[in-house]
Subunit: 365 residues, 4 copies
């Protein structure tokens, strides 16, 4: 619970936006797995800010230092810990946030929970910066999955009210080429026209000192059938339990998801057939690769909804918890008008970790 997750592949994420360092421990990795650090860094680069105008111009060095768990680049079976120093914080006064909580942020709820002792600097432990160690862990997990024929990729389906949404994945047949392209890209979008339109939507919000949210669709390809358990041990429960740990995620659905609520059974039921190789396949994949909590061998597909970045440049109403009066607040600093482009690799990282956990829980790793 809290900042630890998992039963067999156990994560522990620590640090805050302005603490000396942040990091992650991954416990339960099998021994003998070579980890290519340049691939880890490539995934972390996809999440890093400052790449274009859609994101904050703040730079992060974000070079993780592996303290333990690897010997000559290979997992030893002992916990793997990586630490990222926090070196680029602007030294400014955050103390006002302890008193005047930012709308849409966790400032107020943290104040109630921690009685005012919480670290408010840059959002503290609630900061989106904590997704950096998550991406580190996901990039490690991704290499283990890849070695077992499992690929994870995502794309931004929509941002804000931009009418040109991206083409959804074909749930039955996701081309490996596309997955490889998307999973290496900053701001992954299938359709270039959609990406252009989304950039414009984000830029519009930025110029208006506002922000937009969006939707990320993610696919896990190659997961064998039979992983997961009924009821509370289902693949959906497991994925949701980590996905809702990503800041700003407010909704998760699988396969047709919320759209399934509008379908007839005769449409939504994925029928079975034997393919030419004598394997059982499903003709459609409205179930998103999961039936009764257990994987069907079809692509595992889910969508994640991100709310708009709460930090906006406009004046907003809030309270002063000290004087107990209503007041106004302008959130200073550099903000992402839209975190969704940078959130895609975070969603993939969570999916990689959840997939590895699911395999290990199911005795398939």
């Amino acid at each position: 619970m809290s900042s630890m997750w998992g039963e067999k592949i156990r994560l522990s994420i620590f640090g805050g936006s302005h603490t000396e360092a942040i990091g992650v421990t991954i416990d339960g990795l099998p021994a003998g797995e070579a980890i290519r650090m340049e691939e880890v860094l490539a995934q972390m680069a996809r999440r890093a800010p400052g790449q274009d105008l859609t994101a904050t111009t703040r730079k992060e060095a974000d070079a993780p230092r592996v303290l333990c768990g690897l010997l000559n680049g290979v997992t030893t079976g002992a916990p793997l810990t990586a630490v990222i120093e926090n070196t680029n914080q602007r030294s400014r006064d955050y103390e006002n946030l302890r008193v005047t909580p930012r709308p849409g942020h966790a400032d107020y709820t943290a104040a109630v929970k921690y009685g005012g002792y919480q670290d408010v600097r840059g959002g503290g432990h609630f900061s989106g910066r904590l997704t950096a160690p998550l991406v580190f862990a996901g990039a490690v997990a991704r290499q283990l999955l890849s070695r077992r024929g499992i690929t994870v990729a995502s794309h931004v389906v929509s941002v804000g009210r931009c009418k040109t949404g991206d083409t959804p994945f074909d749930p039955v047949n996701v081309p490996m080429e596309l997955l490889n392209r998307l999973s290496g890209e900053y701001f992954p979008v299938i359709d270039p026209a959609a990406k252009l339109a989304m950039r414009e939507e984000i830029e519009k919000a930025r110029l208006e000192k506002d922000s937009v949210g969006g939707i990320v669709e993610c696919a896990v390809i190659g997961m064998p059938a039979g992983a997961g358990e009924p009821m509370f041990g289902g693949a959906e429960n497991l994925f949701a339990s980590i996905l809702f740990g990503i800041p700003a995620v407010k909704g998760v659905d699988f396969g047709a998801g919320f759209s399934a609520a509008y379908l007839r059974g005769s449409e939504n039921n994925d029928t079975f057939y034997y393919n030419e190789n004598g394997e059982v396949k499903l003709r459609t994949n409205y179930s998103g690769g999961i039936l009764g909590g257990i994987t069907s061998g079809m692509p595992l597909i889910f969508q994640t909804a991100f709310k708009p970045t709460p930090s906006i440049g406009r004046e907003q109403d809030t309270v002063n918890l000290q004087t107990k009066e209503n007041t106004k607040l302008v959130v200073e600093g550099r903000h992402d008008p839209c975190i969704v482009p940078r959130a895609a690799p975070v969603v993939e990282a969570a999916a990689c970790i959840a997939s590895l956990e699911l395999l290990k829980q199911s005795g398939m790793l």
Copy 2:
């Protein structure tokens, strides 16, 4: 995992559609809580089938027998176990389901996972019948919550493509009268016209030997601010981890949820103010009562998407796992053309249990 859930309020659900009995153990209930069994039965009645044409005409007695955990109707602090005998199963041959999996059901994935040893009779442990013990547990939890000023209610927002959706909850102010009405009702809907239209939609599907899904919105009112933890210990993670355990749930979102992805930050940010009693409140509640995983004291509101009932009377394509050939299947028996009316009390039950767990995890119980 699997059929156990929770850390402080621990559920263990057991049984299958056609086993001798089904039931639930609740471990971790505080001692000294009077449980009125008639209220438990009233909740279970809301879930029971056979109430009207929207559901299967199969009857369930569903009288739970409490084996332990209560003394003179009061919790002792020891595990509370209730058992419901399975008495009304039609004795027919289910063995064909072991060989020809029903589309949309867990028959195939269970066959892969359990190697053909799974109980296929009536869906076995994957049966919707397993929600009866969940509702039992939820009804017990509800009484503890009620004693602490917390109310849980839900309504069916939509079924199928029915255009007349129900009025959503006012996320800032849900009238207690309405909550009390809905939480006692079979097929709870706020707007009578919407209910009528939904009934028609369901009846239409039934006549066409088809089925429809739908969306349930649920509200938890009175939850104090400060419950839940950041990252993986958030209220959203906890609720999702139990909600996805309800058969047919394919999506969960909180507050504005997926709609938040289409909003601007300036719209979606819930601003703070002091009300006349000197309490901090939020003017809007797009966050659904949760910020950074921690409750804000506002109504905790979420939506759950149900796929259409997979059991339909039409002939469907499937495979014969024995002969390894494609084949056709007509699912016999009594089916719900729409389980959503009966699912509403199940969603509430899960919300009651999750709320109790959240309070106990947060040291508030």
Copy 3:
């Protein structure tokens, strides 16, 4: 926690001495395992009271009814629940125990924890009767282990101050014949003379309205090397976490255990060698089959210390929690002057469950 245990093989034990029924749910059993019920009953018979003068003359029918989890005697992979009706309780007044706690029992600590709402009848949920469902679960686990070449047996090493202790297991070579004999026996002891002397010690205590404790040694033979994890995931941690759940257990040690504290390293170090089959073996087994938390492939051997039965016929000092005065108490009813003979199968049951969990955690099941 509390009455649930395990991560992969999950137990949930419910009921109390005088509730309607007691029972157990086992979640996580692999599918396709035939369970011979007569062997389960044979194990339960070893624990049953009333066999001779060493134990209470109270009779228990203890016929478990399997509600679910088996189909034609074979596990389905779904939770297996067994219920034992409580039919033989003498209907007498236990209410005085709510006010005058019995020394050595949990009456007082339960009163503090549950605020007086605990079920005091016959010890409630703290009753030794709750070991009946534990033995049921252990007997199921034992059959899975047996199928994988793993045998579990125990013997009573000592009772009270009886000077004739039983011969300890040869930690390097425990004859299968002996294991099979002991694991089928009521009051298992290797040396008949020792058993005779122990019986006398127990009878002496009984005649003096007193009780004695004792020590049980248990061996798990056939466990493969490499199960368990370092630090908190070690085999010792796992076994201890279930063994201390047996009422009256106050100490657990592995291999030479407390005696190892008196040895030199040159004595206690188990040296390695290749046997004639080219397998690595240890010449001695002071480590009890566990090094660094991980099994070595040698017999896993541990001892468990039982305190004397707290229920004795003598008058004892206690308090009246109502009048807040010191008072005297004579515990009525039928007591075991020594529970150790009946505890041996309970220790074995716990060892069977822990072994199965260890295998499954280690991906060996």
Copy 4:
């Protein structure tokens, strides 16, 4: 599991003897707790090697760097991570240990489990050095306990066959003065004559290139009555689950423990009385402060058995896993002839963490 522990106060320990650094994350600490770092360092100094001839002369700087979780020396409620750099490893060849496992160490079992990929340098993740972060965490927990009137101290009862054992704690009345003295001391012993004799025993072993084990008794004073749960959630289960995580621990017992097995019920039953303040007390404390898994308010007392240090200077038999032949091994390097003096603060640390967890689990924190 493995290197993570706890449910409410969650530890994650990482690193190995020769990795870049080792450390610990503590998740779940309440916010607003001032942590005096000099007291933490004082506890760590008690565990540090090189203090006298009883221990290795190897020096450790062991200055922990707190990465996060404290703001101005006060807990923020977010995970607290401390890292200790590994700076003093002698760079020598450990690769032979991958091939010729040391008797009494985890080299062989780790080789089986991790397939040869484990870090063998200095014992890797199995090294006693990993107790440094455990002591760090314990020293943090100790300050929270102290603030709530709870004191933890231990002493070395015996080493090897030294006949002069230390005076055991009076289980009913442990003087605070004594506790304060012991809990600040390197090699804590109550009776100076016993300490002298133990030193001689250790020196004798050292001169003979051998090692000795010993027993540590630990007391937790001030724990309120009513903490802990029945069966698997008992205080004994919880303490044992962390204590067996300390390298070389092979036995744990509570109160009279294994000795209770030799007592009569009439001796071992702790009778109740009202003291002059109207509080319920126990006249004796054979139960070690725990009845039915729940604390009684009396001192919580337990003993922990340590096996002799496996690293000895003598030639020992072992195998060569590569050539598959029997061989001889002399373990090079600096060894502790007895780790028990340094183990006492480690036992206390584990007790502090377990006590804090027990309080938080029981809603008393």
